[in-house]
Symmetry: C2
Subunit: 395 residues, 2 copies
């Protein structure tokens, strides 16, 4: 998962737009990297990625009154930074985060833990923070020891270069196989919310993001509750290749400086925007389908069936081939409910026409007759480029 | 899943060979289509496939003393022939089977059931058998009504053309995206065992074959037990794309004419041979990996982890790219056991070198430290041809 050499832009121009994201009325998303009051960020090149690409970034909240929450991958073979964040972090008081791309520091054993702690300690020292208030996130190749000389000398330069307009550099520093940097900012009623994320392979909920960092100057009384709800409706709804990463991390930091509460729905919209950007920029993706299952016995069943359809390579290649092959949707649903009998699903309960007729974002739907529960999942198509990226790139 | 226009041969020549199949000592497998005493078979072109390819086949056991067993897909959206076999078959007394390729008769509603029954009744009449002793199996495109005029007129010609050397034609008549016909015969100690199978997409246990038909003149006291055991070690051990078909069927028929019992292990070897042939001829497959997981807490866990690794598109593209990327094996195992902690798996417990160094059949192994259970799964690589077949072919 080495970095693409040059930045690209989202489909349809400078700023990513999806039919499935609506900004709350009167508010517009923008990609300029505006940070809320009380935050600085930045990104530098330390040498983990080639070609001078930025590969080390940080965000700091100036306020000691920060409210924060962090969600970490459930992968049983979690990477060193995940273990450090699980065990050594004051999760409600995260002032800063240090992030590198180019090396996931996963499957690196005890040395990996030592290295992740050392990154954390180094940034904490530079910024004058308690080490337990600094999170670590890493992404890139698995199983390769960290080049700590590069990282540690990078951190000292990075710490002194954090600025209020550094979110652009930060969003670029966290990219791996992403084609374009993913960031969004919005301002409404005196508060600002901003977020930066990266995809693009090993995307599958559990929860399932890759990395995402969110900042606001609003007051967030229950940051963990707010973050779990927003992640449940966004990063947990996407899949690229059904693979849960060893390094997934989502961090929310609220400085509270505006003195106003975060309006309902804002965080949800922002994370959905970034989640759709991630799946749209999934490895090799050319189209994104929204798979909806209704009429399931319960929500767990609805979700399981939707995921089975969304992860079927037959459905994903049909998406690429613009083949409205509802038989493959029936087959996947039947597999999800193996051992039961849901009859022979036919075109009267499966909507697949959008696969042929739709644009970049087609909708697929299956109506079961087992209850009233529903669920949806966003999935990318399976393309030749996915194979090129994963079979032919050096990892 | 329309048929390939021309037959090919297995890798490495006329007869498929795998490093993982050993014929019992002194016995050789052959592909000549020898049928055991008491069986006739055949295949004709009725018009479901284009280009004059054979697409309709049948097998009959002449003996009224037949002992039989049939295993059917667990897919909850099972096809019409599966429903007919489940509900209308004397499963221990199956004298004959009618099989078509080119149309799966799946997701075809009530008409599909009527059509499958009509195929069964037609062959039963032609052969003078009770309808409940005739099985039906179908494979091909999903969701398209059967051309019953073609099928029924085909059946009358087929019934009169069944011969003792008809297994070659039968094995060709059941092919869809298979590149070569899959059949094996062996004779030992006065008994003969033969089998014919077809793959090649929607392969994943549950159990999971596509279609396989087995005949012997040996005595098989417990055909269902023998078949379940052999399927458990063969078709249930393979995956191509993790997709359970709506039509999977395995049928065993024993005429008993030899008067001798089937020696232990023969059926297991024959089905393993065909299972490996199916995965080797999986859609787009160029290599087959054997994924072994040891040290699991119990056999269900071992199997789940092995399957997660075997179905990971990252592992499957690494197989194609000859990339000994053990990090992807660690990631998949960690996902299989999500929510638990298995530490950071490293190269000391993962053998992936064969991915780079090995030939057509590399071995991958993961050693867990949770108990003494083990499991293995055979998986194909994910290639450009898989995408071509599934995105660009008309289905």
């Amino acid at each position: 998962m080495s970095g693409h050499p040059s930045l690209s832009v989202p489909p349809e121009g400078e700023f990513f737009r999806s039919r499935w994201v609506e900004a709350p009325e009167g508010i517009s998303f923008n990609p300029d990297g505006t940070l809320p009051e009380g935050f600085r960020a930045g990104g530098v090149h330390c040498g983990l990625k080639g070609g001078g690409a930025t590969d080390l970034g940080a965000v700091i909240c100036e306020s000691e009154e920060v409210a924060s929450a962090i969600l970490l991958t459930a992968n049983a073979a979690a990477a060193a930074p995940i273990r450090v964040c699980r065990e050594n972090l004051w999760q409600g008081e995260i002032r800063s985060v240090i992030v590198n791309s180019g090396n996931a520091n996963a499957a690196t054993g005890e040395q990996g833990i030592t290295d992740a702690l050392s990154m954390r300690n180094s940034l904490a020292t530079e910024l004058g923070l308690a080490p337990q208030t600094v999170a670590v996130a890493e992404t890139g190749v698995i199983g390769v020891p960290m080049d700590m000389d590069a990282v540690l000398s990078g951190i000292s330069g990075l710490a002194s270069s954090l600025t209020t307009d550094g979110a652009v550099a930060f969003s670029e520093a966290i990219m791996t196989t992403d084609k374009w940097p993913k960031r969004v900012s919005l301002t409404v009623d005196g508060i600002t919310l901003s977020a930066q994320a990266k995809g693009a392979g090993m995307i599958e909920p559990g929860f399932a993001t890759m990395l995402c960092f969110v900042q606001t100057d609003a007051v967030v009384p229950d940051p963990e509750g707010a973050l779990r709800q927003a992640v449940g409706g966004s990063f947990e709804r996407i899949t690229v290749d059904g693979q849960m990463s060893t390094n997934d991390t989502v961090l929310l930091q609220a400085s509270g400086i505006s003195g106003r509460e975060l309006p309902e729905g804002l965080l949800d919209s922002v994370l959905l925007q970034l989640a759709l950007e991630i799946v749209s920029d999934g490895e090799g993706a050319s189209r994104v389908g929204r798979v909806e299952v209704t009429g399931a016995a319960d929500s767990a069943e609805a979700e399981m069936v939707a995921r089975k359809i969304a992860n079927s390579p037959l459905v994903k290649t049909a998406l690429l081939g613009r083949d409205p092959n509802w038989g493959r949707i029936a087959q996947a649903a039947g597999q999800a409910l193996a051992g039961q009998d849901i009859g022979e699903l036919g075109p009267e309960v499966i909507e697949a026409g959008d696969i042929a007729a739709g644009g970049r974002e087609p909708e697929l739907a299956l109506r079961l007759d087992r209850g009233n529960a529903s669920a949806h999942v966003f999935t990318s198509d399976l393309t030749h480029e996915y194979i090129v990226i994963n079979a032919e790139y050096t990892t």
